[in-house]
Protein backbone atom coordinates (compact mmCIF):
# COMPACT_ATOMS: atom_id res chain seq x y z
CA UNK A 1 0.00 0.00 0.00
CA UNK A 2 1.60 3.27 -1.03
CA UNK A 3 0.63 6.85 -0.74
CA UNK A 4 2.96 9.18 -2.55
CA UNK A 5 1.58 12.56 -1.61
CA UNK A 6 1.87 13.94 1.87
CA UNK A 7 -1.55 15.20 2.70
CA UNK A 8 -2.04 17.52 5.60
CA UNK A 9 -4.64 15.19 7.08
CA UNK A 10 -2.03 12.41 7.43
CA UNK A 11 -0.70 14.09 10.52
CA UNK A 12 -4.11 15.05 11.86
CA UNK A 13 -4.93 12.21 14.21
CA UNK A 14 -8.45 12.17 15.53
CA UNK A 15 -9.36 10.92 18.94
CA UNK A 16 -11.00 7.54 18.38
CA UNK A 17 -13.26 8.18 21.33
CA UNK A 18 -14.81 11.11 19.52
CA UNK A 19 -15.47 8.75 16.63
CA UNK A 20 -17.06 6.17 18.94
CA UNK A 21 -19.16 8.85 20.61
CA UNK A 22 -20.28 10.27 17.27
CA UNK A 23 -21.35 6.85 16.03
CA UNK A 24 -23.12 6.17 19.29
CA UNK A 25 -25.00 9.45 19.10
CA UNK A 26 -26.02 8.57 15.56
CA UNK A 27 -27.40 5.16 16.53
CA UNK A 28 -29.25 6.40 19.60
CA UNK A 29 -30.84 9.23 17.64
CA UNK A 30 -31.96 6.77 14.97
CA UNK A 31 -33.44 4.57 17.69
CA UNK A 32 -35.35 7.52 19.09
CA UNK A 33 -36.57 8.54 15.65
CA UNK A 34 -37.65 5.13 14.37
CA UNK A 35 -38.41 3.27 17.64
CA UNK A 36 -38.10 -0.01 15.77
CA UNK A 37 -34.85 -2.01 15.69
CA UNK A 38 -35.47 -3.46 12.23
CA UNK A 39 -36.03 0.00 10.80
CA UNK A 40 -32.86 1.29 12.45
CA UNK A 41 -30.89 -1.63 11.03
CA UNK A 42 -32.19 -0.80 7.57
CA UNK A 43 -31.31 2.87 7.94
CA UNK A 44 -27.83 2.06 9.14
CA UNK A 45 -27.37 -0.19 6.14
CA UNK A 46 -28.57 2.55 3.80
CA UNK A 47 -26.25 5.10 5.38
CA UNK A 48 -23.40 2.66 5.17
CA UNK A 49 -24.17 2.11 1.50
CA UNK A 50 -23.91 5.84 0.81
CA UNK A 51 -20.61 5.97 2.62
CA UNK A 52 -19.33 2.87 0.81
CA UNK A 53 -19.95 4.19 -2.71
CA UNK A 54 -17.78 7.21 -1.92
CA UNK A 55 -15.21 5.51 0.25
CA UNK A 56 -14.25 3.06 -2.48
CA UNK A 57 -12.86 5.86 -4.66
CA UNK A 58 -10.82 7.18 -1.77
CA UNK A 59 -9.55 3.67 -1.14
CA UNK A 60 -8.64 3.12 -4.80
CA UNK A 61 -7.00 6.54 -5.05
CA UNK A 62 -4.83 6.02 -2.00
CA UNK A 63 -3.84 2.38 -2.29
CA UNK A 64 -2.33 1.19 -5.52
CA UNK A 65 -4.30 -2.04 -5.47
CA UNK A 66 -5.11 -3.46 -8.89
CA UNK A 67 -8.40 -5.07 -9.79
CA UNK A 68 -9.02 -8.24 -7.82
CA UNK A 69 -9.28 -11.31 -10.00
CA UNK A 70 -11.40 -13.45 -7.70
CA UNK A 71 -13.33 -13.37 -4.47
CA UNK A 72 -10.42 -14.68 -2.40
CA UNK A 73 -8.26 -11.77 -3.47
CA UNK A 74 -11.12 -9.43 -2.67
CA UNK A 75 -11.40 -10.90 0.81
CA UNK A 76 -7.70 -10.45 1.45
CA UNK A 77 -7.70 -6.86 0.25
CA UNK A 78 -10.72 -6.01 2.39
CA UNK A 79 -9.24 -7.55 5.50
CA UNK A 80 -5.60 -6.60 5.19
CA UNK A 81 -5.72 -3.26 3.41
CA UNK A 82 -9.13 -1.64 3.71
CA UNK A 83 -9.94 -2.39 7.34
CA UNK A 84 -6.38 -1.50 8.30
CA UNK A 85 -6.58 1.80 6.43
CA UNK A 86 -9.91 2.96 7.81
CA UNK A 87 -10.39 1.33 11.20
CA UNK A 88 -6.85 0.36 12.10
CA UNK A 89 -7.77 -3.27 12.68
CA UNK A 90 -6.97 -6.38 10.69
CA UNK A 91 -9.76 -8.95 10.79
CA UNK A 92 -9.00 -12.52 9.81
CA UNK A 93 -10.59 -14.24 6.83
CA UNK A 94 -12.00 -17.67 7.66
CA UNK A 95 -14.86 -20.12 7.10
CA UNK A 96 -14.72 -20.26 3.36
CA UNK A 97 -17.68 -22.04 1.82
CA UNK A 98 -16.84 -25.02 -0.43
CA UNK A 99 -17.82 -23.06 -3.53
CA UNK A 100 -15.52 -20.22 -2.53
CA UNK A 101 -18.27 -17.63 -2.66
CA UNK A 102 -18.77 -17.01 1.05
CA UNK A 103 -16.37 -16.14 3.83
CA UNK A 104 -16.26 -14.65 7.30
CA UNK A 105 -14.36 -11.73 8.66
CA UNK A 106 -13.56 -12.21 12.33
CA UNK A 107 -12.99 -8.93 14.17
CA UNK A 108 -11.24 -9.26 17.51
CA UNK A 109 -12.09 -5.71 18.50
CA UNK A 110 -14.47 -3.31 16.86
CA UNK A 111 -13.66 0.39 17.36
CA UNK A 112 -17.29 1.33 16.85
CA UNK A 113 -18.40 -0.52 19.96
CA UNK A 114 -15.83 0.58 22.53
CA UNK A 115 -17.67 1.22 25.79
CA UNK A 116 -21.05 0.12 24.35
CA UNK A 117 -23.57 -2.22 25.95
CA UNK A 118 -26.86 -3.09 24.32
CA UNK A 119 -29.87 -2.77 26.63
CA UNK A 120 -32.48 -5.56 26.73
CA UNK A 121 -35.12 -3.67 24.80
CA UNK A 122 -32.80 -3.41 21.78
CA UNK A 123 -31.86 -7.05 21.47
CA UNK A 124 -32.42 -7.18 17.70
CA UNK A 125 -30.45 -4.02 16.98
CA UNK A 126 -27.37 -4.62 14.84
CA UNK A 127 -25.29 -1.79 16.23
CA UNK A 128 -22.47 -1.88 13.67
CA UNK A 129 -24.71 -2.41 10.67
CA UNK A 130 -23.12 0.64 9.07
CA UNK A 131 -20.12 -1.58 8.28
CA UNK A 132 -22.30 -3.98 6.30
CA UNK A 133 -23.67 -1.13 4.22
CA UNK A 134 -20.20 0.26 3.62
CA UNK A 135 -18.88 -3.07 2.35
CA UNK A 136 -21.93 -3.61 0.17
CA UNK A 137 -21.77 -0.11 -1.35
CA UNK A 138 -18.05 -0.19 -1.95
CA UNK A 139 -18.11 -3.57 -3.70
CA UNK A 140 -21.09 -2.59 -5.81
CA UNK A 141 -19.05 0.27 -7.27
CA UNK A 142 -16.45 -2.22 -8.44
CA UNK A 143 -19.15 -4.35 -10.08
CA UNK A 144 -19.59 -6.99 -7.37
CA UNK A 145 -22.97 -7.66 -5.80
CA UNK A 146 -22.49 -9.06 -2.32
CA UNK A 147 -24.61 -9.85 0.67
CA UNK A 148 -23.08 -8.76 3.99
CA UNK A 149 -24.50 -9.59 7.42
CA UNK A 150 -23.40 -9.99 10.99
CA UNK A 151 -23.20 -13.63 12.02
CA UNK A 152 -21.89 -12.97 15.52
CA UNK A 153 -21.78 -9.80 17.57
CA UNK A 154 -19.93 -9.23 20.84
CA UNK A 155 -22.69 -6.83 21.88
CA UNK A 156 -25.17 -9.67 21.81
CA UNK A 157 -23.13 -12.07 23.88
CA UNK A 158 -20.92 -13.81 21.33
CA UNK A 159 -17.14 -14.05 21.76
CA UNK A 160 -16.13 -12.39 18.56
CA UNK A 161 -17.71 -10.21 15.93
CA UNK A 162 -18.18 -12.12 12.72
CA UNK A 163 -19.22 -10.55 9.42
CA UNK A 164 -20.37 -13.02 6.79
CA UNK A 165 -19.90 -11.95 3.16
CA UNK A 166 -21.48 -13.78 0.28
CA UNK A 167 -20.78 -13.16 -3.39
CA UNK A 168 -24.02 -12.89 -5.36
CA UNK A 169 -22.94 -11.96 -8.87
CA UNK A 170 -20.83 -9.71 -11.05
CA UNK A 171 -22.70 -6.58 -12.13
CA UNK A 172 -22.38 -6.31 -15.90
CA UNK A 173 -24.30 -3.16 -16.74
CA UNK A 174 -22.14 -0.01 -16.59
CA UNK A 175 -19.07 -2.17 -16.46
CA UNK A 176 -16.16 0.12 -17.38
CA UNK A 177 -14.82 -0.64 -20.84
CA UNK A 178 -11.27 -1.79 -21.16
CA UNK A 179 -11.38 -3.83 -18.00
CA UNK A 180 -10.24 -7.41 -18.16
CA UNK A 181 -13.84 -8.54 -18.39
CA UNK A 182 -15.41 -5.74 -20.46
CA UNK A 183 -18.65 -5.91 -22.37
CA UNK A 184 -18.75 -6.00 -26.15
CA UNK A 185 -19.81 -2.84 -27.95
CA UNK A 186 -19.81 -4.00 -31.55
CA UNK A 187 -22.76 -1.89 -32.53
CA UNK A 188 -20.86 1.30 -31.84
CA UNK A 189 -17.77 0.53 -33.80
CA UNK A 190 -18.71 1.37 -37.37
CA UNK A 191 -20.77 4.47 -36.85
CA UNK A 192 -18.31 5.98 -34.43
CA UNK A 193 -15.09 5.20 -36.28
CA UNK A 194 -15.69 7.88 -38.89
CA UNK A 195 -16.16 10.46 -36.15
CA UNK A 196 -12.68 9.81 -34.75
CA UNK A 197 -10.92 12.22 -37.08
CA UNK A 198 -13.59 14.84 -36.57
CA UNK A 199 -13.06 14.63 -32.85
CA UNK A 200 -9.31 15.05 -33.11
CA UNK A 201 -9.50 17.94 -35.49
CA UNK A 202 -11.94 19.78 -33.27
CA UNK A 203 -9.85 19.24 -30.17
CA UNK A 204 -6.70 20.49 -31.86
CA UNK A 205 -5.68 23.88 -30.62
CA UNK A 206 -5.35 26.15 -33.63
Amino acid sequence: MSRQSNRATDSKKMNSELFTLTYGALVTQLCKDYENDEEVNKQLDKMGYNIGVRLIEDFLARSSIGRCQDFRETADVIAKVAFKMYLGITPSVTNWSPAGDEFSLILENNPLVDFVELPDNHSTLIYSNLLCGILRGALEMVQMAVDVRFAQDTLRGDNVTEIRMRFIKRIEENHPAGDKCGVLLNSHIFCTMKKIFNLVSRLVKH
Partner: protein, 219 residues
Protein backbone atom coordinates in the same frame (compact mmCIF):
# COMPACT_ATOMS: atom_id res chain seq x y z
CA UNK B 1 4.90 23.54 -20.94
CA UNK B 2 1.25 23.75 -20.36
CA UNK B 3 -1.64 21.68 -19.33
CA UNK B 4 -4.49 22.82 -21.51
CA UNK B 5 -7.55 21.30 -19.91
CA UNK B 6 -9.02 18.70 -17.62
CA UNK B 7 -12.21 16.73 -18.25
CA UNK B 8 -13.93 14.33 -15.87
CA UNK B 9 -16.40 11.87 -17.39
CA UNK B 10 -18.77 9.73 -15.34
CA UNK B 11 -19.68 6.07 -15.77
CA UNK B 12 -22.41 6.76 -18.29
CA UNK B 13 -20.23 8.93 -20.49
CA UNK B 14 -21.54 12.28 -19.33
CA UNK B 15 -19.17 15.17 -18.70
CA UNK B 16 -19.26 16.10 -15.03
CA UNK B 17 -16.38 18.53 -14.86
CA UNK B 18 -14.38 20.59 -17.27
CA UNK B 19 -11.61 23.08 -16.66
CA UNK B 20 -9.67 25.05 -19.25
CA UNK B 21 -6.32 25.95 -17.80
CA UNK B 22 -4.98 27.64 -20.87
CA UNK B 23 -6.81 28.47 -24.02
CA UNK B 24 -4.44 29.71 -26.67
CA UNK B 25 -6.37 32.43 -28.39
CA UNK B 26 -5.26 33.35 -31.83
CA UNK B 27 -7.24 36.47 -32.50
CA UNK B 28 -6.97 39.28 -34.96
CA UNK B 29 -8.97 42.44 -35.18
CA UNK B 30 -8.93 44.43 -38.36
CA UNK B 31 -10.79 47.27 -39.90
CA UNK B 32 -12.29 46.52 -43.29
CA UNK B 33 -13.71 48.65 -46.04
CA UNK B 34 -16.39 47.63 -48.54
CA UNK B 35 -16.27 45.15 -50.19
CA UNK B 36 -15.08 42.52 -47.76
CA UNK B 37 -12.38 40.39 -49.34
CA UNK B 38 -12.88 37.43 -47.02
CA UNK B 39 -15.42 34.80 -47.91
CA UNK B 40 -17.63 34.05 -44.93
CA UNK B 41 -20.18 31.32 -44.45
CA UNK B 42 -22.50 29.94 -41.83
CA UNK B 43 -21.23 26.93 -39.98
CA UNK B 44 -22.76 25.41 -36.86
CA UNK B 45 -24.54 28.55 -35.68
CA UNK B 46 -21.44 30.67 -36.22
CA UNK B 47 -20.06 32.73 -39.08
CA UNK B 48 -16.66 31.45 -40.13
CA UNK B 49 -14.05 32.33 -42.72
CA UNK B 50 -14.18 29.85 -45.55
CA UNK B 51 -11.68 31.46 -47.91
CA UNK B 52 -9.34 34.42 -47.96
CA UNK B 53 -6.74 33.76 -45.30
CA UNK B 54 -4.54 36.77 -44.53
CA UNK B 55 -2.93 38.76 -41.76
CA UNK B 56 -3.46 36.29 -38.99
CA UNK B 57 -7.03 35.58 -39.98
CA UNK B 58 -7.17 31.93 -40.87
CA UNK B 59 -9.73 29.70 -42.53
CA UNK B 60 -12.02 28.37 -39.87
CA UNK B 61 -11.77 31.40 -37.63
CA UNK B 62 -15.11 32.65 -36.46
CA UNK B 63 -16.41 36.19 -36.24
CA UNK B 64 -16.14 37.07 -32.56
CA UNK B 65 -17.15 40.71 -32.47
CA UNK B 66 -18.14 43.53 -34.79
CA UNK B 67 -17.07 47.07 -33.90
CA UNK B 68 -16.15 45.89 -30.45
CA UNK B 69 -19.53 44.37 -29.67
CA UNK B 70 -19.59 40.57 -29.27
CA UNK B 71 -21.75 38.74 -31.76
CA UNK B 72 -24.40 36.22 -30.81
CA UNK B 73 -24.07 33.20 -33.06
CA UNK B 74 -25.17 34.14 -36.54
CA UNK B 75 -26.50 37.58 -35.59
CA UNK B 76 -24.97 40.77 -34.34
CA UNK B 77 -25.75 41.92 -30.83
CA UNK B 78 -28.82 43.82 -32.06
CA UNK B 79 -30.18 40.75 -33.86
CA UNK B 80 -29.24 41.51 -37.46
CA UNK B 81 -27.89 38.67 -39.56
CA UNK B 82 -24.13 39.14 -39.87
CA UNK B 83 -23.81 38.24 -43.56
CA UNK B 84 -26.59 40.67 -44.47
CA UNK B 85 -24.97 43.33 -42.34
CA UNK B 86 -21.65 42.89 -44.06
CA UNK B 87 -23.19 43.00 -47.55
CA UNK B 88 -24.51 46.50 -46.90
CA UNK B 89 -21.86 49.03 -47.89
CA UNK B 90 -23.31 51.71 -45.64
CA UNK B 91 -22.13 49.81 -42.59
CA UNK B 92 -18.49 50.17 -43.58
CA UNK B 93 -15.76 50.81 -42.46
CA UNK B 94 -16.28 48.05 -39.93
CA UNK B 95 -13.89 46.55 -37.43
CA UNK B 96 -14.23 42.78 -37.09
CA UNK B 97 -12.45 40.52 -34.65
CA UNK B 98 -11.75 36.99 -35.84
CA UNK B 99 -10.52 34.15 -33.77
CA UNK B 100 -10.75 30.48 -33.14
CA UNK B 101 -14.16 29.86 -31.68
CA UNK B 102 -14.17 28.48 -28.17
CA UNK B 103 -16.02 25.23 -27.70
CA UNK B 104 -19.43 25.75 -26.17
CA UNK B 105 -20.38 23.64 -23.18
CA UNK B 106 -22.80 21.62 -25.28
CA UNK B 107 -20.04 20.81 -27.70
CA UNK B 108 -17.81 19.76 -24.85
CA UNK B 109 -20.52 17.47 -23.52
CA UNK B 110 -20.86 15.90 -26.91
CA UNK B 111 -17.14 15.44 -27.34
CA UNK B 112 -16.85 13.89 -23.91
CA UNK B 113 -19.50 11.28 -24.59
CA UNK B 114 -17.95 10.59 -27.97
CA UNK B 115 -14.63 10.03 -26.30
CA UNK B 116 -16.33 7.69 -23.86
CA UNK B 117 -17.49 5.51 -26.76
CA UNK B 118 -14.11 5.67 -28.46
CA UNK B 119 -12.45 4.64 -25.25
CA UNK B 120 -14.54 1.50 -25.21
CA UNK B 121 -13.86 0.83 -28.87
CA UNK B 122 -10.16 1.19 -28.16
CA UNK B 123 -10.26 -1.87 -25.99
CA UNK B 124 -12.41 -3.80 -28.47
CA UNK B 125 -10.01 -3.14 -31.32
CA UNK B 126 -7.21 -4.81 -29.48
CA UNK B 127 -5.74 -7.91 -31.10
CA UNK B 128 -4.78 -9.16 -27.64
CA UNK B 129 -7.27 -10.09 -24.99
CA UNK B 130 -7.71 -7.83 -22.01
CA UNK B 131 -6.60 -4.50 -23.32
CA UNK B 132 -7.31 -1.23 -21.61
CA UNK B 133 -9.15 1.58 -23.35
CA UNK B 134 -7.49 4.59 -24.98
CA UNK B 135 -4.76 5.82 -22.66
CA UNK B 136 -3.20 8.46 -24.84
CA UNK B 137 -4.18 10.32 -27.97
CA UNK B 138 -1.31 12.16 -29.59
CA UNK B 139 -1.27 14.90 -32.22
CA UNK B 140 1.45 17.31 -33.20
CA UNK B 141 0.22 20.06 -30.88
CA UNK B 142 -1.19 18.24 -27.88
CA UNK B 143 -1.40 14.92 -26.08
CA UNK B 144 -4.58 13.71 -24.47
CA UNK B 145 -4.10 11.38 -21.50
CA UNK B 146 -6.93 9.33 -20.07
CA UNK B 147 -7.13 7.40 -16.83
CA UNK B 148 -10.13 5.22 -16.04
CA UNK B 149 -10.70 4.14 -12.46
CA UNK B 150 -12.09 0.74 -11.54
CA UNK B 151 -15.39 2.43 -10.85
CA UNK B 152 -15.69 3.75 -14.40
CA UNK B 153 -14.84 7.42 -13.89
CA UNK B 154 -12.48 8.82 -16.51
CA UNK B 155 -10.03 11.63 -15.91
CA UNK B 156 -8.83 13.22 -19.13
CA UNK B 157 -5.98 15.70 -19.32
CA UNK B 158 -4.92 17.54 -22.45
CA UNK B 159 -1.37 18.82 -22.28
CA UNK B 160 1.62 19.93 -24.29
CA UNK B 161 3.31 16.91 -25.92
CA UNK B 162 6.53 17.58 -24.05
CA UNK B 163 4.86 17.79 -20.66
CA UNK B 164 5.95 14.93 -18.42
CA UNK B 165 4.47 13.54 -15.25
CA UNK B 166 0.89 13.39 -16.50
CA UNK B 167 0.36 9.92 -15.04
CA UNK B 168 1.14 11.21 -11.60
CA UNK B 169 -1.10 14.20 -12.27
CA UNK B 170 -4.02 11.93 -13.23
CA UNK B 171 -3.60 9.98 -9.98
CA UNK B 172 -3.43 13.26 -8.08
CA UNK B 173 -6.63 14.48 -9.71
CA UNK B 174 -8.25 11.19 -8.67
CA UNK B 175 -7.18 11.87 -5.10
CA UNK B 176 -8.51 15.43 -5.25
CA UNK B 177 -11.79 14.07 -6.63
CA UNK B 178 -12.08 11.44 -3.91
CA UNK B 179 -11.40 14.10 -1.28
CA UNK B 180 -13.14 17.30 -2.24
CA UNK B 181 -15.93 16.03 -4.42
CA UNK B 182 -16.86 12.71 -2.84
CA UNK B 183 -16.39 13.68 0.76
CA UNK B 184 -18.67 16.65 0.26
CA UNK B 185 -21.99 15.24 1.47
CA UNK B 186 -23.92 17.64 -0.73
CA UNK B 187 -22.35 16.36 -3.89
CA UNK B 188 -24.39 13.60 -5.58
CA UNK B 189 -22.51 10.93 -7.45
CA UNK B 190 -22.40 11.09 -11.26
CA UNK B 191 -23.65 14.69 -11.22
CA UNK B 192 -21.69 17.75 -12.41
CA UNK B 193 -19.08 18.72 -9.86
CA UNK B 194 -19.69 22.20 -8.45
CA UNK B 195 -17.38 22.24 -5.46
CA UNK B 196 -15.17 25.25 -4.76
CA UNK B 197 -12.58 23.22 -2.91
CA UNK B 198 -12.33 20.78 -5.76
CA UNK B 199 -11.65 23.65 -8.19
CA UNK B 200 -9.01 25.20 -5.96
CA UNK B 201 -7.18 21.99 -5.27
CA UNK B 202 -7.32 20.94 -8.90
CA UNK B 203 -5.75 24.25 -9.94
CA UNK B 204 -2.93 23.87 -7.45
CA UNK B 205 -2.34 20.29 -8.57
CA UNK B 206 -2.07 21.54 -12.15
CA UNK B 207 0.39 24.23 -11.11
CA UNK B 208 2.56 21.70 -9.32
CA UNK B 209 2.50 19.39 -12.32
CA UNK B 210 3.41 22.17 -14.72
CA UNK B 211 6.41 23.17 -12.63
CA UNK B 212 7.52 19.58 -12.16
CA UNK B 213 7.07 18.91 -15.86
CA UNK B 214 9.38 21.80 -16.62
CA UNK B 215 12.18 20.25 -14.62
CA UNK B 216 11.59 16.86 -16.20
CA UNK B 217 11.77 17.76 -19.86
CA UNK B 218 14.20 20.62 -19.65
CA UNK B 219 13.19 23.72 -21.49
Amino acid sequence: MVIFSVYVVNKAGGLIYQYDNYVPRAEAEKTFSYPLDLVLKHHDEKVVVSFGQRDGIKVGHAVLSINGVDVMGKNTADGKDILEYLKDSSNYPVSIRFGRARLSSNEKLMLASMFHSLFAIGSQLSPEVGSSGIEMLETDVFKLHCFQTFTGIKFIVMADPRQSGIDALLRKIYEVYSDYALKNPFYSLEMPIRCELFDQNLKSALEVAEKAGNFGAGS
